[in-house]
Amino acid sequence: MARKLPSRDVVIIGLGWTGAILANELTDAGLDVVAIERGPWRDTAESFNVGYAPDELRFAVRLDLFLRPAQETLTFRNNLNQTALPIRQFGSFLPGDGVGGAGVHWNGQNWRYHPTDFRLRSHLIERYGASAIGDLTIQDWGVTYDELEPFFDRFEKIAGISGKAGNLKGAIQPGGNPFEGSRSDDYPLPPMQMTYAPTLFAEAARSVGYHPFPTPSANASGAYTNPLGLTMGPCTFCGFCERFGCANYSKASPQVNVLPVLMRKRNFEARTECEVLKINLDGSGKRATGVTYVDTAGQEWEQPGDLVICCAFSLFNVRMLLLSGIGKPYDPSTNEGVVGRNYSYQTNSSVQMFFDNKTFNPFIASGALGQSADDFNGDNFDHTGLGFIGGAGMNCIPTNGRPILTRPVPPGTPNWGSAWKKATKESYNSAFSITSQGSSYTTRGNYIDLDPTYKDRFGRPLMRMTFDFPENDIRMSAFVNDKLATVAKAMGPRQIVANKTGTPYSVVPYQSTHNVGGAIMGADPKTSVLNKYLQSWDVPNVFVMGASAYPQNAGYNPTGTVGALAYWAAHAIRTQYLKNPGPMVQA
């Protein structure tokens, strides 16, 4: 039996980037906020201690900072005709755990989605006609780039992003990304110093007519103080970035960039190692009354609150809505319902290069140090006659030389023995990969619901993912990867190996933790879970942050837009919702 606690103004589920941002903004507005986090407390000094942070086995292989599947996982199948089975070990994607969430283990590649990404369906119909969309279920976000621009800027300044503007108030800037949306301001820090491989890539990309620029990075290029007064130290290129916490206070994270201010506030409380079981609704089903959670001793607690904000990792936001009965679950057979609809991912291919007589020192790296080119991203190029829509960023961001997992060898090399040893030694310092990170467009059959068979440790159904790469995306990825190969050739390697994504999608090899959609935002409650302010259409005192709101995915890492949407939603709550609690958009 749950024991009832005193009510709070705001109950936040999950204390990662969005939970920390919403809590900080709403406590500034004078509200009394409690954040309930299922994982442990984490801070730099204890959890990412410089004395033992550079431990590949513990953090990158055994995944010490990540969610344990024993605690929660999901089931998976490629299509409706298969029986889903549990993902017993995470592989293709790695959900985070604990305070800081994915903001601890991310690379720090911080993008703004392109203006056309936010009105994708309208834009493509205007340019190519409705037939270009085919049976894809892509749609507009309900919010525009121009509306979000001040909040992109806010997040970049909070997180201390290093980069070079390519479009400042409509004027194209040399050295930046000429395809990006218009920015009100440059990045708060200049670009990072470049290592050898991205330098070669940029020269080669320019030589074949593309427009490379330094990848926008949350790994600080120098000392920085953010608008909250919190400081970052310069990145040391340690090569233990993604999958690790940063011991140098150099990679932006909730721990470095928000929590030291938030935690000092008397109107904020974090409750860790407490797992929310569901959001509670009143008898009408139209109003949330709070949440029920369970602590590590197995005691259930009811935490009432006036406003409930879902800030878990995107997949787990979707499951929380399904378990709580908020919004109508999506059914692919009838194409009705919304929760779980439009799950999408990221469509990545790569080109690997083996050189003679080059020394790349792959261990001198960070998670977001590199060069990118957007010539074939989104709708930056004419798709007429190509047979697909969407695109991919071309990236050279060699993140590490950690040798348990990063040991490139030419195809055909045996897996063991002296020949393997020789190839491993020869290639370690003289090979690298460049990647195309592509959009992922939605279909009727790719979705999330609850599994009929497998349960979590509390007996709740696991969520079930049904996903395969749409043919559109496979064609897109092959097209851009061929462009990427022309850049690779211009670098003059001894050998080029192209790895193109194909079907069926597999949950085994690591690809991306950019799982998006399932609780999407939009302008129509029949095809979206949230309105443009990330507010539930069905239960207006529930908001859902995170990439679960993306109607489909673009060819970018999602965090920059997650941060902008969090500030956008917080602003709407502060300036509109609190004055008049209720739906901010009439259905």
Binding site: P6, E56, Q89, R264, W416, Y428, S506
Partner: protein
């Protein structure tokens, strides 16, 4: 509106870190307010596993593992291999820890065979994979090579057995297939060859020296712009270098 006025419900007073609700029996949550709950000396460093003795294997099993890793990453003209790096000890220590039981993984039934894209679905934990796999390997070796144990085979014969396991041509009796056992052996041997030496393998940083990985240095600001130039310093582990230790 007053409904959202700042309310002061700080039932924990000035306590910054407390077990939730002092009066509640067995409450297992932590509540944090007012400041970060950082405590001096609370970090959680690993413990070096450099002692002798076996924690999981019996001596005959250990000898077989030692012979296998010596073939997977052999000593040759490029330098020492996995045997010299202590990979068998590394595997013994890993099996004695949380990896040995797949403690972190979802191991709830029902177990069903799926597609390769659905990932591993075996109920076998590493304890079972190694113990059962080693017994089946011994039986296979004796049946194929006139009663000889794996450790008694010629090196070329050992390689032939390992190749047959890798390709699934060797049929193992019992729940653990030759391929499942081989895949885990290869994964764990590579881990032991390249992990920080504190875990019992990569002795004298043999694996890191082979490829030129400097280990736990953590700061390359002085070399980042020195393109195409070899990094000059030798590797260092989380616990330093052997030549920093006091000589007996």
């Amino acid at each position: 509106m007053s409904h959202y006025a700042l309310t002061r419900r700080y039932f924990l007073g000035s306590t910054t870190l407390a077990f939730l609700f002092g009066g509640a029996t067995g409450a297992g949550a932590k509540t944090i307010t007012g400041q970060q709950p950082w405590m001096a000396f609370a970090a959680n460093p690993p413990t070096p596993e450099l002692g002798n003795g076996l924690l999981f294997f019996i001596p005959s099993e250990f000898a077989t593992i030692d012979a296998i890793v010596a073939r997977l990453i052999p000593a040759d003209d490029l330098g020492p291999g996995a045997k010299e790096a202590g990979c068998a000890t590394f595997i013994d220590r890993r099996l004695a820890g949380s990896f040995g039981t797949f403690q972190r993984f979802y191991m709830q039934p029902p177990f069903a065979n799926g597609t390769p894209q659905q990932g591993p679905q075996s109920a076998n934990i590493p304890h079972v994979i190694y113990r059962t796999g080693l017994a089946a390997l011994d039986a296979y070796s004796r049946a194929t090579y006139a009663g000889k144990a794996f450790t008694a085979l010629e090196l070329a014969q050992q390689d032939a057995v390992l190749q047959a396991m890798e390709k699934g041509e060797a049929k193992f009796a019992g729940a653990v297939s030759a391929q499942q056992f081989f895949a885990m052996l290869l994964q764990n041997t590579r881990e032991g060859f390249f992990a920080d030496p504190l875990y019992g393998g990569n002795r004298d940083m043999i694996g890191w020296k082979l490829v030129g990985f400097p280990g736990a240095r953590y700061d390359y600001r002085d070399h980042v712009s020195k393109h195409n130039q070899p990094y000059p310093l030798p590797p260092v582990s989380i616990f330093g270098r052997p030549d920093w230790q006091m000589k007996g």
